[in-house]
Chain length 205, copies 2
């Protein structure tokens, strides 16, 4: 099972998981590739092909058992357990993430939030108290954190990335509108609303 799955397939698995979790909430027990496909605007053939990389997950004639597929997808994505993640930057985005209730059943939990601004350090956000950025490295090491979310201005982000990696972080979700370099083996994902808006505006007028 699963010898170097293409990245593009991995990128679709969270969407499958999100869609099928919704079907479960609606009371379904089984979902066919066609149903899922309609929900996601993805062809049924592609969904079957993607899933088949991880074994025979469906039942011919019936579809995919939802409970089973959910647990299988979580297993594949390593979200069986909850990852403790840290957030760097206690601005609007960082605060929003720290307060966000939706992470926990997707496999994540913000366990600390850091900022460099003395005005913010010590402030309470949701269940957390903003920590001094200076404590970040020690925190990562002693809590064995692997995932960090960067929610700070672009100018400072490359420096912080370097510190994060040095401390042992191996996966970064970056909200700064800038492309960042990380050493081989450190995964980075980017979220930049302006990029999405520009994709949209291309099609307008």
């Amino acid at each position: 099972m699963a010898n170097q799955i293409p990245r593009i397939i991995i990128g679709r698995l969270p969407l499958y998981l999100r869609a099928i979790t919704r079907l479960k909430k609606e009371g379904h027990d089984y979902a066919s590739s066609h149903e899922l496909g309609k929900l996601l605007d993805i062809s049924a053939a592609q969904i079957r092909k993607d899933l088949s990389h991880f074994g025979e997950l469906g039942k011919r004639g019936k579809g995919y058992e939802i409970e089973f597929l959910i647990s299988k997808l979580n297993q594949i994505l390593n979200t069986d357990d909850v990852w403790r993640i840290i957030v760097i930057g206690a601005g609007d985005i960082g605060s929003g993430l720290a307060r966000y209730k939706g992470f926990i059943n997707r496999g994540f939990k913000v366990s600390a939030i850091f900022d460099i601004d003395p005005q913010k350090i010590g402030k309470k956000i949701g269940d957390l108290v903003v920590k001094d950025l200076g404590e970040m490295e020690a925190y990562i090491t002693s809590n064995q954190i692997q995932i960090a979310v960067l929610a700070i201005p672009a100018e400072n982000s490359q420096d912080v990335i370097d510190d994060l990696v040095k401390a042992g972080i191996t996966a970064i979700l970056n909200y700064a509108p800038i492309y960042l370099k990380a050493p081989e083996g450190v995964q980075i994902e980017h979220i930049d609303p302006s990029v999405h808006l520009q994709k949209l505006s291309y099609f307008l007028k």
Copy 2:
């Protein structure tokens, strides 16, 4: 110039624009496809191929004139002018977007923010005052808004989408962790941090 450009290429143009804008800020006048490629982890050949869809934008022997390429990309992406966009939902994400200083030089400006919660209506966020969701449709019509950002809980988002489209919105950036249906011709982009985090966690452990 430009007969039905593949979506995947359009998706890269904002990245080119972001990278080259940075090079401008650093004082460069020209950028070669190799420089850009190194900055973005994209092959030089691909960058040249992508850009060539829109004419001969470079100078052989020199590269791309930065000032010219920026204006050309803005022209292609329709971000020459500033789009007035609206934000639905005045929670952390909505507030963050309303206060975000980075939109204006990427071609966007939040011109109104709406919420359904009486506690939030009337509150000041940045330069804006939160409006009643009930005023949304009238606002869209009379201001000819085309782009909306959805930053509300998943449960309510399909209803709001329908209202948005009815009022004339043709492009939506959706922060709710759910796949939404919109009629043909209405573009939707999705941002769901959990999806990105799950892509990251796949590679861990």
